[in-house]
């Protein structure tokens, strides 16, 4: 038998495969296609302290081998989320990771505090949000802000904290080290790469927001490079994501040093992508006689 269990910050997942925030709602919609009990964890759509309406439409566009989105982090706010989404997920034998967003440290902290009483396993902090107190840049583009925000969150968080890194930076390893220095229990990456698409016939932007985040197989090699860099720069566990569509894609992250992997855009292409990835990793382990997934984590140096 193959052992696919991994431990991230003291939380044991039955396998390394989770959903990427924002691509799986809170699991309900895909529960028609996927047995949620089989997932290592469900990572929920980003939630803020109050409801966010998100951006104008069009919010999504196809790109070559990928897609672009500017949902604008629409969410019902933490109160509704705790009343509705957490109880839904608690019915399943999987881990619950709540993705948190905010425009300012206070907003993140309000959510983190509110989550203290909730039966969730971890939280993932989306630091790709623009920091309203610090101009245009996202929190995650400045190591100083990352370390400070991480430290503030860690002070009050009752569950392990994953800092989710943006790839739109010069040196992702530096950002990961800042998160580690701030006390993060794990890091996840990559969030989307900022892109733009222009409709040349209508001479307008494809997305109402002008720019959007690129995801899907097109970004996979960039994500693998960043996960490798980060896994070799920090001691805390790394969760890899960006374009995972097949078990091979996920295994690239694992061999590069990721303890967990998330499946995002692929859900839109194939609603059972998460399960196919889990089954594929298992088949790979059996084929090559890998007894424990830890034999694979970071095995390519």
């Amino acid at each position: 038998m193959t052992d696919m269990r991994v431990n991230i910050a003291g939380v044991e997942l039955k396998n390394p495969v989770m959903t990427a925030s924002g691509t799986f709602g809170s699991g309900e919609e895909y529960s028609e296609f996927v047995d949620l009990n089989r997932l290592g964890a469900v990572v929920t759509k980003g939630v803020a302290n109050v409801p966010w309406p998100g951006n104008a439409t069009p919010r999504v566009a196809e790109t070559y081998g990928g897609m672009m989105n500017a949902i604008g982090l629409q969410n019902p706010g933490i109160d509704v989320f705790c009343k509705r989404d957490i109880p839904f997920l608690q019915k399943y034998d999987t881990k619950i990771i709540v993705n948190v967003c905010g425009h300012a440290p206070e907003e993140y902290l309000a959510v983190v505090e509110r989550l203290a009483e909730e039966k969730i396993d971890m939280m993932e902090i989306n630091i790709s949000c623009p920091n309203v107190n610090a101009g245009f840049l996202a929190f995650g583009q400045d190591p100083k802000h990352v370390e400070e925000l991480t430290a503030e969150i860690k002070k009050i968080a009752k569950q392990p904290v994953i800092m989710k890194l943006t790839p739109n930076v010069t040196d992702i390893a530096e950002i990961a080290r800042a998160a580690e220095a701030g006390g993060a229990d794990a890091v996840s990456l990559i969030n989307t790469l900022t892109g733009m698409k222009i409709d040349v016939n209508r001479r307008t932007f494809a997305l109402a927001n002008k720019t959007g985040g690129v995801s899907g197989p097109a970004v996979h090699p960039i994500a693998v490079r960043m996960v490798y860099q980060v896994a070799n720069a920090v001691k805390i566990p790394v969760i890899g994501m960006g374009g995972v569509t097949t078990a091979e894609d996920a295994l690239e992250f694992i061999l590069a040093g990721a303890t967990g992997v998330a499946v995002g855009t692929a859900n839109f292409v194939n609603p059972t992508a998460t399960i196919d990835v889990i089954d594929g990793i298992q088949a790979y382990m059996e084929k090559y006689g890998v007894k424990d997934i830890h034999e694979l984590i970071g095995a390519v140096k």
């Binding site: 759509k45 998100g54 989105n69 839109f268």
Partner: protein
């Protein structure tokens, strides 16, 4: 409302107008559940095009478990589909969305079934399943399609932009010109048409169901890509947004802002 992802087989494909194709698909399960006004997601075979293409259900043959879609070649995905022929396989997901509410009509009531351009196809299955008097108003630029098939299920009134058939103008011009009235409106078509119908229906106090279109990714309500503005705070989103793919594509005109 079960949904299925399956590999359907092309039964037949026919070109029924300039750049307009009619495709019958053999399904295992999707056809069995399909209702008028719902849609299916079609996935491209070419791996550079990831997102599914949402296409309305035009006709359903439950006994044979077959589905018909009618679509216009609008870009690379639909161009790919137009090359399919008998026996080819295509991944589909469906049936998706809520569909038109059939129970708003009964014998003795009068309905408008209004289709504009490539919004016409869903009116075919609707016209087959709906009870009561069916006045089918179809708006075209110039070239007609599906109108003869629709005429089997109700009275068809035409509007063409160039006046080459029926009333010169749009569907509302045809309604006025013909002096038509209805208890319920069902409509699908371009946003300007839907906006005009929404105003018309609210002015006349007619119950009006509009099928909206928006760019989509998941098609199942998970990604929040495809929202429209709702008049009230929506009970799911808790903001003024409804998901076209899941809460729609059919909305009561008074629920949404266009």
């Amino acid at each position: 409302m079960a949904k299925f992802k399956e590999c359907a087989k092309v039964v037949s494909q026919e070109r029924i107008g300039t750049g307009i194709f009619s495709l019958w698909l053999q399904t295992e399960q999707v056809a069995g559940e399909a209702k008028p006004g719902q849609f299916i997601n079609l996935y491209c075979q070419d791996g550079s095009r990831l997102l599914p293409r949402p296409i309305s259900i035009c006709e359903v043959n439950k006994e044979e478990r077959q589905l018909r879609i009618v679509y216009r070649v609008a870009g690379k995905g639909t161009a790919e589909f137009s090359g399919y022929s008998k026996g080819d396989e295509v991944e589909i997901l469906g049936p998706l969305g809520n569909g038109f509410p059939l129970d708003r009509m009964e014998e003795g009531k009068k309905a408008f079934l209004i289709g504009g351009g490539i919004g016409i196809p869903p009116m075919l299955e609707l016209s087959r399943e709906l009870k009561g008097e069916k006045q089918i108003i179809l708006g075209y630029r110039d070239e007609l399609f599906l109108n003869e098939e629709l005429a089997k299920n109700g009275t068809v009134y035409l509007a063409t932009e160039d006046g080459s058939a029926g009333t010169k103008g749009n569907v509302l011009d045809a309604i006025c010109a013909e002096g038509l009235s209805a208890d319920v409106i069902y409509a699908c078509g371009p946003t300007p048409m839907l906006r005009a119908l929404k105003a018309y229906a609210e002015e006349k106090g007619i119950e009006c169901w509009l099928s909206l279109e928006e760019r989509m990714a998941c098609g199942v309500g998970a990604c929040l890509g495809c929202v429209c503005k709702s008049k009230e705070v929506d009970s799911h989103s808790h903001v003024h947004n409804k998901r076209v793919c899941k809460d729609g594509p059919v909305f009561l005109s008074t629920e949404v802002e266009l």
